[in-house]
């Protein structure tokens, strides 16, 4: 059995964190390749369904990141998002999802180093949590494991 490599679903806002990831790449900053990015127009677009669906389908962690409050491309999207995050965070925390599996951050498109550190941090914490076994649906056996 090879060493556990976490799979993380990342939801990045198009205008800030996605740009930061881009800048980190262009700047040749090294960060772990464990996350799959879903680009959102704004963190305000994030629906709790997305997070639950990711875990349900077997993600070991979810990382949500967007513009700093006050810097939203759509003026106030992330302010509304923040209130939603607060409710989601307490809800999932209360029902017993490890806090390290669901992470939120604000990273502007200029903060490539913050992105690098955060990415490393998220991956290492999820790695420490181990595979997501209890907050996922039983996997469908389609005989296509090698494809997935």
């Amino acid at each position: 059995m090879s060493e556990f490599e976490p799979k993380i679903v990342a939801f990045f806002c198009n205008w800030c964190t996605y740009g930061a990831a881009d800048l980190a790449g262009v700047s040749r900053l090294e960060y772990p390749p464990n996350f799959r990015v879903v680009r959102l127009p704004c963190t305000g677009r994030l629906n709790p369904k997305f997070i639950l669906e990711a875990f349900k389908r077997g993600a070991d962690g979810v990382w949500v990141s967007g513009c700093h409050p006050g810097d939203c491309h759509y003026i106030a999207g992330n302010y509304y998002a923040r209130r939603k995050f607060i409710v989601m965070h307490y809800m999932l925390d209360s029902i017993g999802l490890e806090a390290d599996r669901l992470r939120f951050s604000w990273i502007s498109s200029a903060e490539a180093t913050k992105f690098q550190h955060m990415a490393t941090d998220v991956v290492e914490h999820v790695r420490a949590c181990g595979p997501n076994l209890k907050f996922r649906k039983a996997p469908l056996i389609l005989g296509m494991e090698e494809v997935a």
Binding site: K49, A76, R83, I86, I95, L97, A99, K137
Partner: protein, 317 residues
């Protein structure tokens, strides 16, 4: 406190007057249920209809559920919690305030039939009720049960028993009970994540996913519910434990800052799951974070529709 009969009379008079004055074309209230220890929703359109309206210790259904999308002028009989749900629906533009006439009934709590069943297992043939007692009569027994001992969970911690936003009250105001302090949730929070997950998975292990809780809920008026969406399909159709948990989590999240603890979901549940537990988590959050309680005044804005630039969220790095 006026007796149940007095309140019933007052509701009938008020309903007739509302119809006669043109304040409403229909009065939504309660009538005697077809099963014992129950009431059924009733739509009174004529003065004769109004004589079927009653008040009871079993008026557990939240009649606000019948408002969204209803045309014409409507009067509703509302307990404290129902009146709060109505305020929420008006705030969410589901019903126009001008077409609404709320007949508020100060309420001393509704009865949980499961607790009655636990107190008297013998089969009964008839029952009678007063404001403070329920009497079950069987072949060779007559058991009187104090209402206080069989109140629903949410009624025991109801701080808003008088519907303050009602257009008319049919009785004197009643003092609220000690509000929910969420002590059990706080205690749960001190446990490990594994124990918490175990607790919640155990809580919903009997869930049939019949969605009775959704249908009974006055907040659940979406034309297409997320459980019925198929493209994408957010929930599988089986009772997979994770799908069930997702349903309850999303239901709780949807009700964040809107739930008024009317207990309609728990009453509707055929397998007696404490489904309000998920709502209580969000209720505690909006109370702690923004000091918000749903539906107490016409002016307040639901917490997730507004923001403060300095909202505290230290978990976001």
């Amino acid at each position: 406190m006026p007796s149940l009969e007095e309140t019933t009379q007052k509701i009938r008079e008020t309903a007739k007057k509302a119809l006669a004055d043109g304040k409403a074309e229909v009065v939504i209230g309660y009538k005697k249920g077809t099963y014992p220890l129950s009431t059924a929703p009733f739509f009174a359109r004529t003065p004769e209809d109004c004589d079927q309206l009653i008040w009871s210790n079993f008026a557990r259904i939240n009649l606000a559920n019948y408002l969204p999308g209803r045309p014409g002028k409507v009067a509703v009989v509302a307990k404290g919690c129902d009146a709060r749900s109505i305020v929420g629906q008006v705030a969410e533009n589901q019903f126009h305030k001008d077409n609404l006439y709320v007949i508020g009934v100060p309420c001393t709590g509704m009865v949980d039939n499961n607790l009655i069943a636990a107190k008297e297992q013998r089969p009964y043939r008839d029952y009678s009720e007063t404001l403070d007692t329920i009497t079950l009569k069987g072949a060779d027994f007559s058991t009187e049960i104090k209402k206080e001992e069989v109140l629903r969970r949410n009624c025991r911690t109801c701080a808003n028993r008088t519907p303050k936003t009602a257009d008319e009250l049919v009785g004197p105001e009643v003092p609220g009970a000690q509000a929910d302090d969420f002590a059990d949730l706080k205690e749960l929070h001190s446990k490990s994540p594994e124990e918490r997950m175990e607790y919640f998975k155990d809580l919903i292990k009997d869930c049939l996913r019949c969605y009775a809780c959704r249908n009974a809920c006055p907040l659940c008026y979406c034309p297409v519910c997320f459980v019925d969406e198929t493209r994408p399909q957010w929930l599988g159709k089986s009772t997979d434990p994770m799908d069930t948990l997702t349903f309850h989590l999303l239901r709780g999240l949807h009700c964040a800052g809107r739930c008024t603890s009317c207990g309609a979901c728990e009453t509707a549940c055929p397998v007696n799951i404490k489904v309000r537990e998920f709502n209580r988590i969000t209720e505690e959050t909006v109370m702690d974070e923004w000091g918000y309680e749903a539906g107490l005044s016409w002016e307040q804005k639901p917490p997730l529709t507004v923001f403060q630039p300095d909202d505290e969220a230290s978990f976001i790095k």
